[in-house]
Point group: D2
Chain length 335, copies 4
């Protein structure tokens, strides 16, 4: 592919210079797995970020983060309720079925891949409370959603309260948590609300291959540690993952990078007008455009994914330049 | 721990400079997962190494490599036969049970953690061929073994031939394949014999977090690709893993590094004399020594693991210096 | 419950006198599991029924039959395509997730719980052929469907041909296969078409606790035998299950019983008129009726399940008397 | 086989007349699954038997009973400690791996397949308390053991106390619980001690296909109910299973039958002398005998299993006649 391609996805962007420095700085032998000095600093670093006692584990991918978190909340005979277009349903190759030992995903509706108390109730209520039907043990939502939409603190509160009322645990897929935080302008604790565990994404935001699972209930973290090893995700040179996470937190790099990506997306969105399929609140832009229009953009060197037959998805990353975003915006306007 | 500690394990050593260079060189956005240019070179690079058509997948850990390989060979109602002290039995936190969906490990004996046709037969023969007993679908052996012993080509041939005769697949855990190759002085194809899949270890040998699964039967690789994603091991910036593997192969760095580690181990072993529990053929040295002797060594700054109440394990890595190895040897002699 | 209740479900009816006789006749010690003389006659008996070589296994429940059959066709990383209201999706407590080790159910639409080539294609086509999405390995359909509708031979042919074209296996949930056969008036081989395995239901049709899994591909049966034991479904006194199945086949008792149930349902349906939600082709009748109407029927002693807020389901069994069916029909007419 | 064969196993004996009566008496339609009047009496009936509040579930096989019980106690990343020759390890076709989602069996030693606090400690102590090794979550023992030996109340107390001390749950495989109770002459509560769940066997003791899982902790039973359905073990005509269990309890039929079987075994054992491999405490007799001796016995019409190359196993059932037992005893004496 000869595309400049930087709008395909944030998941293939370069590694941020500060992360590289942290990686290099970790290049002294230490004890293996998660017993090294850097890994042992994670709980504290994330506790500070979320202003409460949390336990944080590194893991290499968002899929592993989501599924290890959910595995601490859902028994094999239970289910996770999530949006019909949630990443765990659409794009994880059946990982939830694997990690949860056959537990089910129960799907709910919602504009922009956002769950609401109404759509959650509509999915939960028809499930009879008997052994013939699979009972929901946890609710998983994505912040920002798969369509780049953000849950406001009051929306999180309503969902949390519903989850508590129904006795189900709450997980947040935060692959783009940083972009949501940048958009909402709230403190991290408000961005995630009162969930039980959060997949705190870094790979799409400047890291190489480290995500954090943040457990707000330490008992869940204890289970997750066993499950991480059992899933082959306990890297022996774990210090290189811890280093990435700490670098992302240092000086709020996670937020700085997300703001840059969001700004680039906003620039592109400014050219969207009536083409916009979803309000742009994070770093993804979904636009109606015909096959011919997409071909025209590609001919100018822009890489992006088709989104069904009549739309396209453009994703900005931490390293998308203002110049490129502006150029794309102009190209869209000229269609 | 104030130990110089470099004999604890090769699994926490530094990353080799050539690997660092390759990582940095990969720091340009490319397509995600394993669709990038580097990942797409792996099949060819490993086919060249093994002088036959193979399919090679990157993965972050040896546990994932072993279990993904075995998952292509063993049905959930089957079993893997391995040595009683195999890493998959002792140290993978139950990962085989997870990846193989409840399949069993059937344990066999053998000096130095080496299987022999006799011990394999002794484990297989009592299993009645009926549904009440779990049937063995694959044999897994470790090269070099958990005690640093190597299978000679003729030993591999005998085991392979037994496996074929019994209709079971063959997997090699090559976490220290390089050390075995360095010791045996054979071409890679002879070091692994006619196995169906090989976990080709790099993390203990200078990489950061990349191992290769080499499939000698491409149909198995097709299954493994789905299972890797499903296990959350398909990293989106896979190019950084591919880069590590290619760097290890470039100029036979894998072999160069292993020779250095083996040489350091040989130096230490030269002081072992009657203390040696196992012939030293790779980079691990197991020595009888009392608690007092171990304390004395530690007091001099040497880090290593106890191996039961009366022994210690010393592991040399690619970056163990000749000087350190010699110093340790002298310290042992002086006990 | 003081209801006469016989329209609640066919799954709680009495055991047919011929089945009782066969059970008693089996009450002489024989070899255990499926090695007894009766179990060994099953393959032949079902081969005769289906006019081709099949392998038949007994099992105690329809859920086990369905899931053991599917487990021979679907890898853990794959999926089963079925109707949105299929029994395996709605009423088996997550058993497919358990037996298939986390494989997924992909849901398709269709009136009366019937799949069509169009709805199957609509469910299959959006699945990208890559590792991020779960691939369909088998198609499962129910004959008669959960709404008592039957697939005609030409409909089966179209679905079979589509399945072959897409490289997926085909399973039929025949919990009410007999009722479909009675309605269609075809030979059994035409009722099931060219599926790979069939759950041949008997419990709803006069047996106590025996269903048959009929494998049209003997290699699948070999796997199923191991999986049946592993699932704790290999009863030691298996002869009592084999006896039930043989009794059902003897003199076409399965067909005789199903005809009786269908006739009773037809009698009830005759009173349905515009209330009928689905054409009545087997032994289930779904009628629109208000809560008040349902209360009125119950007050007259009729037991049945509500079907959502505005409907009711009436099921006739092999032992539903003509008199009772007629009485219910009259009661419905009088509403 | 032309053998009179009644010493092969108690698992293929006839059904007791009282059980037949109870089955026939259940032949009136009732509500399905476990909602019928008979199933709803089980908790009370077993609570009376064990003189404390218990929850009891029917299930068709001992394998399902054992594994469903264990599945409530052991997380997928944990292990069950059992004897090296326990039924769950040797003869259940890998069912524990299936039901426990890949959890491991950790094997311990002990004469006559009996665990002791010493052998349990010897198996537990080497397991490091870290994520690399699989931790034991439950202990399973068999009463009477696979070699027909019985745990005395004080032995149960010692094991229970050890289990509590180590924080592991306790399960008893009571496939031949009745035979142990008959031998020990204790009340049922003493025969099982303070275990968390008991598989209360009936199939080997006069039932057709019903076992009870008795939960001494009701919270475990709630989980088991979901898991039973999910395993396809919730029969729709469950009343026929409940009827069998109630018939076994009625008038202590379970004890009467076991006493008869034990008496027959004692008769056979009386001829054993120095041939006896294990003290005969239940209904199984293991005798040293050569291949020629076994052939001689078989020529006289006695059916039994070889037990390795130099021994044979004879099992008496509830319906073994005194005459047959005496005849076998004489035949053994005459060898």
């Amino acid at each position: 592919m000869a595309f400049r391609m930087q709008f395909l996805s944030d998941n293939a962007a370069a590694v941020h210079p500060h992360v590289w420095q942290a990686l290099k700085a970790a290049d002294t032998a230490d004890t293996p797995y998660d017993t090294d000095a850097l890994s042992r600093r994670l709980d504290e670093a994330f506790s500070e970020l979320f202003e409460r006692e949390v336990a944080a584990l590194w893991v290499a991918t968002g899929t592993a983060a989501n599924c290890l978190a959910l595995a601490t909340m859902v028994q094999p005979h239970g289910a996770v309720l999530c949006h019909r277009e949630a990443h765990i349903e659409m794009d994880e190759g059946g990982a939830p079925g694997f990690y949860l030992h056959g537990a089910k995903l129960v799907l709910a509706e919602g504009d922009g891949a956002k769950l609401t108390p109404e759509t959650v109730r509509a999915a939960l209520d028809p499930i009879r409370d008997d052994v013939h039907q699979v009972q929901v043990h946890a609710l998983s939502l994505t912040q920002a959603t798969e369509y780049g939409r953000c849950y406001r603190p009051e929306e999180m509160a309503a969902l949390t309260s519903l989850a508590r009322e129904r006795g189900v645990k709450l997980h947040m897929d935060g692959a783009r948590f940083a972009n949501a935080a940048a958009y909402l302008g709230c403190v991290p604790a408000e961005v995630c609300g009162d969930v039980d565990a959060l997949s705190f994404g870094c790979v799409k935001n400047g890291a190489m291959n480290a995500e954090a699972i943040v457990f707000f209930d330490p008992a869940l973290a204890d289970v997750a540690r066993y499950r991480r090893k059992r899933a082959g995700h306990l890297q022996s040179k774990g210090r290189y993952l811890a280093a990435q996470l700490l670098a992302m937190l240092e000086g709020d790099l996670w937020l700085v990078n997300a703001r840059a990506a969001n700004a680039a997306a906003a620039e592109i969105a400014s050219a969207g007008g009536r083409r916009l399929l979803h309000q742009v609140e994070a770093n993804e832009v979904f636009l109606r455009c015909t096959a011919a229009e997409r071909a025209a953009l590609r001919a100018q060197g822009y890489g992006f994914y088709d989104w069904g037959p009549d739309a396209a998805r453009f994703v900005a990353a931490w390293d998308t330049t203002e110049k490129d975003a502006r150029a794309l915006a102009r190209a869209i306007e000229s269609l």
